[in-house]
């Protein structure tokens, strides 16, 4: 990978960071394996815990997003710690603008969360007999919810990489901040599971999710340099 500071446009720098992470991930497959196993094992815990009774839609919606959020905290928390451990922070700092590092990592994390969603929706359909009745709504809220989740997780992953004890801190910092997202996305998810629901039922939630993702990403881009630079 060649990076020419100054001549590299912001977009190319972002794509380079994204491709670098993808390539490293492809070599070790650590993050993706963690994600797959986490989603599957937590869904199986749910299968045994819920038993064979029919589960209410609002319970399924809540459990689904709890699984996604904890999958995100367990596998995305390392995005910046790995740079610290590998001693590559200085290299990135000197060659790539801070906002491009953030955007590249954000893109990579978003892809991972979307993969987690694909897995979780399959696992919920097969093992918990959840029926997604309204696919367009489901896809839209998954994309919007994942964007907000990726934004919040990426900036907090950068924060915890600067602390003494790494990944264990992430859920504590992340969950209170995610509350507005979680509330809207679960509410919209119930509509997506319900046959005969329409866009009118989720209008408010979608507006909130768009605004939340926009706010978190904007605030993160503005504040990222304070975390990233010494």
């Amino acid at each position: 990978m060649r990076l020419h500071s100054g001549r590299t446009s912001w977009l190319r720098a972002t794509v380079s960071v994204f491709l670098k992470d993808t390539r490293i991930e492809w070599r070790s497959r650590f993050g993706i394996n963690l994600l797959v196993l986490f989603v599957l094992s937590s869904v199986f815990i749910l299968v045994f815990a819920l038993g064979q009774d029919t589960v209410e839609r609002n319970v399924i919606a809540a459990l689904y997003w709890i699984v996604i959020i904890f999958a995100a905290t367990s596998s995305l928390g390392r995005s910046f710690i790995s740079e610290e451990e590998g001693g590559t922070v200085l290299l990135l700092q000197t060659h790539v603008p801070g906002s491009a590092v953030f955007a590249g990592k954000l893109l990579f994390n978003l892809v991972l969360i979307l993969i987690a969603n694909v897995l979780a929706s399959l696992a919920f359909t097969v093992f918990i007999n959840a029926t997604i009745a309204n696919w367009p709504i489901f896809v839209v809220i998954v994309v919007l919810g994942s964007s907000g989740l990726a934004g919040a997780t990426t900036i907090l992953a950068a924060i915890i990489a600067r602390t003494g004890n790494g990944g264990s801190l992430l859920p504590v910092l992340l969950l209170p901040i995610l509350m507005p997202l979680l509330l809207s996305v679960v509410h919209a998810m119930i509509a997506a599971l319900e046959p005969g629901s329409s866009w009118n039922d989720v209008g408010n939630d979608i507006a909130t999710l768009v605004a939340y993702a926009g706010t978190v990403v904007t605030a993160s881009v503005l504040l990222f340099d304070f975390v990233w630079k010494d």
Partner: protein, 233 residues
């Protein structure tokens, strides 16, 4: 590290403190002794209005102060702004906890009397609880960073990210939860249910509690500066 100059605790401060103490003594006397109209369910618990509601106003004003100092800390990097952000967050958390406790007890002795309900998922209650969780995370985050300068910066970033997300709750929560508070969900507005005599105690109480918060905050900042000057070389 540069020595911080402690704020001078001059005679003016003592005068202001004396005024606030007298003010609050009168407010508390008025809160317990003045006769109030008895309302159904509420009865004498209505007096909690003078304590419960000002707690929230005080908390919100200290949350605002904390956010402003976090932003100023990122802009200037000066040590004192970080101390001010931290101490105002601490005072906000204290008032938040007291607001939650007074609220829970109030609901327990009125609407939920005789039931096992303690927590009623009211929008304002939930929002306060989330703000307290955020401050819990904020103080916890501070303990994990050793370097003074880095700790201030990272904590300020977290405080501001949190400050950007909390206002969403104002929009989201009322759509999903029912409220016990006046002025929400078709409940009667605050001005309709409070007698003039109650408002005459309530507004001074708000001012008084905010003044107490300011006293506490100012003293905490002073102690923090002295402590820092003693421990650093």
């Amino acid at each position: 590290m540069d020595k911080l100059t402690p704020p001078v605790s001059g005679s003016r401060y003592s005068v202001i403190r004396a005024i606030i103490i007298t003010w609050m003594t009168l407010v508390i006397l008025g809160a317990f002794l003045l006769d109030i109209p008895r309302m159904n369910i509420l009865e004498h618990t209505a007096r909690n209005l003078y304590f419960h509601v000002p707690m929230w106003f005080t908390m919100m004003s200290m949350v605002l102060v904390s956010g402003i100092y976090s932003a100023r800390h990122l802009a200037s990097g000066s040590r004192i702004t970080d101390i001010r952000a931290r101490e105002s967050a601490r005072v906000a958390a204290v008032f938040g906890v007291m607001g939650l406790i007074t609220g829970i007890l109030w609901a327990k002795f009125t609407w939920y009397s005789g039931t096992s309900v303690w927590w009623n998922s009211d929008p304002r209650q939930s929002m306060a609880a989330i703000q307290l969780l955020i401050y819990g995370a904020y103080f916890f985050l501070r303990t994990t960073i050793d370097d003074n300068e880095k700790r201030g910066r990272i904590a300020a970033v977290y405080n501001l990210i949190a400050a950007a997300t909390v206002p969403f709750l104002l929009y989201v929560l009322p759509r999903q939860m029912e409220s016990l508070h006046p002025g929400a969900d078709g409940n009667p507005a605050f001005s309709e249910i409070t007698a003039p005599i109650m408002r005459a105690v309530f507004y001074p109480a708000v001012i008084g509690f905010i003044a107490i918060a300011w006293l506490l905050y100012r003293q905490r900042v002073r102690v923090a500066i002295l402590k820092e000057n003693l421990t650093s070389d």
